[in-house]
């Protein structure tokens, strides 16, 4: 399987200024694939470009030539001197290339291990390769295996479990407290960037009403407009504490904005419904002692950071399991690739037909015991001759250059037609 080649660069090998010079948008990818199709040394090709990586997955009979053409193609298409980025390129062949594409799709090679978008991006890249007809038997099979492996890793390991951002960790906690965040009321105090992110997550979870309290009322009104919520005055916070379920605070205030006694006071009018304080401010806005009240949960930035760190560690542990799944898949794919060689296919084909002939002779001769040994020999000879004659042309065709460079395809068809893989 040495004819599978992967050339590319990613966030680990290339700085962002190189990556952005080489990135392909959707239209460019299409044109690039068209051009790749025209290159003589390259049989199949797929181009994969995201903000963190640009990769070319190829098959080529003459690998040296294929690699050379691919590199010069990148330089030519993007109008950059090859020397400017050649040192950032990595090159994988055979097993290593297969492993690389598996790891990329399973999000093991991502900047944030386990992030889910990458699989969709690989799928899109493959789709445009099929549309441009630059993928053939090998890449089709390889990519289908890739999707299968990536899905298996996602379902069998915890690589995508748990939040790895502060705002998402807060949402996850909220779900453990409230179950469903639909219809929950949110109070946003102050306007930090992280708080806004958390609010956006909450909106995605269909939180219903959003109130914004800001020292400068004008800014509060602007924010409220952005989230289709309503602005309240800073002095009204206490009144709203008895209504809202989630409070996100990120003011620049020096002292506490919300004190324990204040929360204790509203719990009775809340009839002890739980309330969740997310304190993203430094210095903190909410008295940490508030957490000791029943049905009140206070998480500050450090608590959330601890959760995120823990989750990242978890993901790294799960990545080890994922590598094992990939090892398995590489072996399986290697077996399939081996079967695409001419000799084993012809051998398997002969074995299959000979097997059929042999069992049929046996059956026939059993019913014709009156035949003399010479007659029996003659029948056997005739059958062998028949098998050889029938197989002569297909064997010759598969061995010769009649397949016109698309031998893998014909071998694959042969194996399927005669069910040689069962």
């Amino acid at each position: 399987m040495d004819n599978i080649i992967l050339i590319g660069l990613n966030h680990k090998t290339a700085s962002v200024d190189i990556r952005e010079c080489l990135a392909f948008n959707a239209d460019e990818s299409r044109d690039a694939l068209c051009e790749l199709r025209g290159l003589a040394a390259i049989d199949e090709a797929m181009l994969f470009s995201t903000c963190n990586r640009v990769e070319l997955l190829l098959t080529a009979k003459d690998t040296e030539q294929g690699i050379f053409e691919a590199k010069t193609f990148l330089a030519r298409f993007k109008n950059i001197d090859l020397n400017a980025f050649e040192s950032a390129l990595y090159l994988h062949q055979g097993d290593a290339a297969v492993r690389h594409i598996f790891r990329v799709a399973a999000s093991l090679d991502s900047m944030m291990v386990g992030e889910p978008q990458i699989l969709g991006q690989v799928k899109a890249a493959y789709r445009s390769a099929t549309e441009q007809k630059t993928s053939g038997v090998i890449l089709n099979r390889l990519l289908h295996r890739t999707f299968f492996v990536a899905k298996r890793i996602r379902s069998e390991t915890g690589i995508g479990d748990h939040a790895v951002s502060i705002s998402y960790a807060a949402i996850e906690l909220g779900r453990k407290i409230f179950g469903d965040l639909t219809g929950k009321k949110v109070l946003l105090i102050g306007a930090g960037e992280m708080a806004e992110l958390a609010v956006e997550h909450l909106i995605r979870h269909k939180s219903r009403e959003i109130y914004v309290a800001n020292r400068t009322f004008q800014r509060g009104v602007e924010l409220a407009k952005k989230y289709q919520g309503s602005a309240i005055r800073f002095e009204e916070i206490n009144d709203f504490l008895s209504q809202v379920d989630i409070v996100i605070s990120s003011t620049g205030a020096q002292g506490f904005v919300i004190e324990k006694a204040q929360v204790k006071g509203v719990m009775r009018s809340r009839r002890n419904r739980p309330i969740f304080f997310i304190d993203i401010a430094v210095p903190r806005d909410i008295d940490p002692k508030t957490n000791s009240l029943n049905n009140v949960y206070v998480y500050d930035i450090d608590d959330l950071k601890d959760i995120v760190d823990e989750n990242i560690e978890d993901r790294q542990r799960e990545a080890v399991k994922a590598e094992r799944i990939i090892d398995e898949a590489i072996i399986q794919f290697g077996q399939w690739m081996d079967s695409l060689n001419v000799v084993p296919t012809i051998k398997a084909l002969r074995a299959k037909i000979n097997g059929v002939a042999k069992s049929e002779i046996q059956r026939t001769l059993q019913q014709m015991e009156h035949l003399k040994p010479e007659d029996q020999k003659a029948i056997e000879r005739m059958t062998h001759a028949l098998v050889n004659k029938i197989l002569h042309d297909p064997t010759h065709y598969l061995k010769s250059n009649g397949c016109q460079g698309d031998r893998a395809n014909f071998l694959d068809v042969t194996r399927k037609l005669f069910k040689l893989d069962e």
Binding site: R175, K176, N295, Y299
Partner: protein, 273 residues
């Protein structure tokens, strides 16, 4: 018939194994196996109960063996019913082993009847027994859910999310499930006590006799009534409600078994062996 009993115990044990495996490796199919095993075990027991009822014409609560078996039956039945509305799958980890344990204890006591009493006949009595047992099962579930709540709440409060954080459902679901269990338990207990009094009137000519069993039943009823009242008026929910559900179950256990062993009074034949 013995074979059905053994089968039920086996089912509950398999179910426990399924739920524990589910707790650890979180594959949904394990939980489904556990659930099906519970249902099969319960079906076996139901056949046994009907058989005994058809055979003798009264509820099979004549000795400790039969009484405990009925406890397990009611517990599993209540869980299966609860499951239809509020899915706290992980609660099976509490229900299945408890049912298996109760059945195992039951199997350790002789199963022959001790002079079946004609006192145990009649419509009011059948209703009394079934509702009381279902009520007890509801409170047992409330105790289990309360325990899960306390574990989950502890983890969230301490900000140390351990083994259970991802495995237990949200606090809100646990709290409302616990509440539902108490409501069901309380309703059943109330019906059970009323039918018991009606029955007492029929047999002994009085509604109330200050028997220890009656007194403690009333104490249990008042305890849960107070719990519900506080929840509805001032919103006793969450941690406090969970603790009260657990304490309440302690009181209930004393009413059920403690009174019989320590204080005597009527209802004694339930727990003889």
């Amino acid at each position: 018939m013995q074979i059905l009993f053994v089968l039920a115990v086996l089912c509950y044990m398999l179910s426990s194994a399924g739920y524990f495996a589910y707790l650890i490796i979180q594959r949904d199919v394990l939980q489904q196996i556990g659930f099906i095993m519970l249902a099969v075990g319960m079906a076996c027991q139901s056949v046994l109960l009907l058989w005994a009822f058809a055979d003798t014409g009264h509820m099979p609560v004549n000795n400790l063996h039969e009484t405990l078996a009925l406890v397990a039956w009611a517990l599993v039945g209540a869980y299966l019913a609860l499951h239809a509305r509020l899915r706290v799958k992980v609660l099976g980890v509490y229900v299945a082993p408890l049912a298996a344990f109760v059945m195992f204890v039951a199997s350790q006591f002789p199963k022959d009847h001790l002079q079946p009493q004609n006192l145990l006949k009649g419509f009011w009595l059948v209703v009394h027994i079934i509702t009381i047992f279902l009520g007890y099962a509801g409170f047992a579930l409330a105790c289990g859910v309360g325990t899960l709540y306390l574990i989950q709440e502890h983890g969230i409060k301490r900000k140390s999310r351990g083994f259970f954080f991802s495995r237990l459902p949200s606090l809100d679901l646990l709290d409302s499930t616990g509440y539902a269990c108490v409501v069901i338990g309380f309703t059943m207990l109330t019906i059970g006590l009323v039918t018991g009094m009606v029955y007492g009137k029929n047999v002994w000519g009085r509604f109330w006799g200050w028997d220890p069993k009656e007194v403690w039943s009333a104490i249990t009823w008042i305890f849960y009534a107070a719990l519900l009242h506080e929840r509805l008026t001032v919103g006793w929910r969450g941690r406090r409600a969970a603790i009260m559900a657990i304490v309440g179950f302690g009181v209930l256990l004393f009413t059920f078994l403690g009174v019989n062993f320590l204080l005597k009074g009527h209802h004694g034949q339930f727990t003889r062996w």
